[in-house]
Homo-oligomer: 359 residues x 2
Amino acid sequence: MEDTLIPYSRLAEFTRKVLGQMGCSAPHAQQAVEALLSADLRGIDSHGIARLSGYVRLWEAGRINPEPDLKVIHETPSTATVDGDSGLGLVVGPFAMERAMEKAAAVGSGWVSVRHSNHFGIAGFHAMKALSRGMIGIAMTNASPLVAPTFSRERLLGTNPIAIAIPAGEEPPFVADFATTTAANGKLEILRRKSLRAPAGWVQDSDGNSSTDPAEPTRGGALLPLGGDREHGSHKGYALGAIVDIFSAVLSGANYGPWAPPFVPYLNLPADPVGLGLGHFFGALRVDGFRPAEAFARHMDQWIRRFRNAEPVDPSLQVLIPGDPEREAEKVRRVSGIPVGPQVMDDLRMLGEKFKIEF
Amino acid sequence: MEDTLIPYSRLAEFTRKVLGQMGCSAPHAQQAVEALLSADLRGIDSHGIARLSGYVRLWEAGRINPEPDLKVIHETPSTATVDGDSGLGLVVGPFAMERAMEKAAAVGSGWVSVRHSNHFGIAGFHAMKALSRGMIGIAMTNASPLVAPTFSRERLLGTNPIAIAIPAGEEPPFVADFATTTAANGKLEILRRKSLRAPAGWVQDSDGNSSTDPAEPTRGGALLPLGGDREHGSHKGYALGAIVDIFSAVLSGANYGPWAPPFVPYLNLPADPVGLGLGHFFGALRVDGFRPAEAFARHMDQWIRRFRNAEPVDPSLQVLIPGDPEREAEKVRRVSGIPVGPQVMDDLRMLGEKFKIEF
């Protein structure tokens, strides 16, 4: 079956109404819509409207507070910890990132660790908030424990993404946003849906053997850290995922490692939490905290042009700047709509019926 | 030929004298000895005493100023840029990391970008300086352009390492220190010396084809970003290396990308610099800027224990915490000495003759 192209505005209106029915205030619902659907606009189909029914499932399970009391519970001039009061990460994230940027405006940089939150959508959305203020933005989060560290049979980490957005001058910004695994879980979901195999180095089975079955994580197997195996540097991917986990959850007092509350329906909530909810970490750095903004912008443009114009191995595949593919996707999708697959269409119809909202 | 075991104190004394003959002050020489030989103690043989003749070569080429005037040239309460005045990175690094920690002590975090520096040894040494103050330490640097971004035939990045040191309570600290490539250049040097092949995914030849010859980078080929190829996430390793380059050199005003001044003798100094010297980036974060230090230490201990005790795939290979192998190496080498290979022994004898220092 074909994807259906749906205008952004229609998905936004529907999502806003669903969130309203869950009890979110209008400003919170609007924030959440922007965060969630930025994934669909940027071509990261696994993290956008496809997850709306997942958020509803968490809300039905009593794991999402639609009216959270967001609070800074600890701070210094350049650091803070935010308690998300079990709110949607899509709402907690923007609140925390705003605090990071306020601190950066005041003292050059701001760093905010968050506890008691939930899935926050794509990390890149939060990092990019810094761009319009001439700041570098950083966002990361821990996630459902589906990743086995190097040498481990057990799954102890999430795909723990890192996003870093860096402003330029005339060139579009540099926006890196990536899971610290060989492949994001969303890519495995897509392979499963299409009954395709995964390349070697993406997953292991429940005994820790290499496998090409993208369904392994749904039956005790694991995703692999960036690098894939020890010989190809998986200990580095493991270290990166671990750093995201520690910055997001050990610094804030959230659940870390295998205790991270899962978003995927095939994992259970751990019975012995070590903290509150899921954790995130946000940062904002003023470029003019290091050198005049104009000089930075000029050199950043030169950096981008030199890399984009590098001689390619294959003349048909140009060297990309992180963020290029997502920006191109957004250009197209803002005009022609968001492609929604048949399974997600069914999900949305089901949500429409549940909440008596026309879809 | 066998390695020779040499006591740390003897290597330290010799190195101190060589640096003294180059014109370094006694306190600078002492700082540089500690930074350089920390690599040998920690088992990272490529970055320690083996590089002493390389530093001398740069000094002879007029690229190292033994009496640098180290200066903060731009700052906010939590950020700064340091000009290294062409000094040894081994001396510039500790100066800049100290500024980062001072700022963290005052406002919760400190971030220092550095221009006009040189090779600074292992990143982990600088990051670990934060541990005794109860801070998280971060260090990164750009380096000789030997790495091809995804899809690029050209070498535009260094192996650009990242180190992050995180204090714990009763457990030893978490210390990650890794090149953002599949394998560090030092590992290729070791394979070349032993006439061994490299695993697929480590290097490409000068046309951009996959190769297993560890000598490729010496004749126009390149190291590959962590991930190895696009299917296994090399665009993520490329993004990480790029972020290190931008934080170290575009923020500070150093040379970035292919303009980074090379340390390896088989690359020429670019004729058209875009900045001053090599760049580094340092950070310090107070854990008590986020939550009480005691609570952090307790949970960090629990994190470390849970991961170290994970069920392994192979019972003979325990899951490691980043920093474990290096700490074990240091324990052994402090007692039994540093193993020095025949080629490095020749180098040191040659330096001894050049400077009339007994070795």
